[in-house]
């Protein structure tokens, strides 16, 4: 993918994250429920979006650095490391979440346990779907 096209998509995504962050903060402010959680998520999304835009502005003024970043992103060892990190994170997250669900049920926090178990089921389901799609592709 062309560098400019890739950055265009990233900038749109950054705008989307900022918008999502604002929505989170607004919902927290309007409803007044779980404000801390919603504000934390919202601020996280906004900071990520702003950081992406700032990164683009910084790199667009320095073509040499932009090229270095481009090389690092295309580098096959880096891509292997990112894939491995994601794979390990998933492998660790699944059993850790299982234990956490058990602990939450023992502590009679069924709702939190159910949400956590649901998130794990969703992740596993997503994995299966992506696997099937990739299997057809390759």
């Amino acid at each position: 993918m062309e560098v400019q096209k890739k950055w265009k998509i990233r900038l749109w995504a950054a705008g989307g994250y900022i918008l999502l962050g604002v929505v989170f903060c607004l919902v927290g402010g309007i409803t007044g429920n779980n404000t801390e959680i919603l504000d934390s998520f919202g601020s996280g999304f906004i900071v990520y979006g702003v950081a992406r835009i700032a990164q683009y502005l910084r790199l667009s003024r320095n073509p040499e650095q932009m090229e270095a970043v481009e090389i690092a992103e295309r580098d096959e060892r880096n891509q292997m490391l990112w894939d491995k990190a994601r794979s390990y994170a998933f492998s660790i997250y699944a059993p850790a979440t299982g234990v956490a669900v058990l602990v939450l049920y023992l502590l009679h926090k069924e709702t939190a346990g159910m949400i956590l178990a649901g998130s794990l089921c969703g992740l596993v389901l997503l994995y299966v779907i992506v696997y099937i799609v990739l299997k057809r592709k390759y």
Partner: protein, 52 residues
């Protein structure tokens, strides 16, 4: 030639060249081919297959 110069020439990071040299990372067929082309040698002259 430095690792940095080679990395710039074939558009990978210096760390990748370092990992290849130290045997921590195995190059893909594409990268092996690029390196062989750059040095104008056969792939077998640059890399050897070691059964695990």
């Amino acid at each position: 030639m430095t690792q940095d110069e080679l990395a710039r020439a074939i558009r990978v990071t210096r760390q990748t060249i370092n990992s290849l040299e130290s045997g921590k990372y195995n190059a893909s067929l594409q990268l092996a081919h690029q390196l062989a082309q750059y040095f104008d040698v056969a792939i077998e002259e640059l890399f050897y297959f070691e059964e695990e």
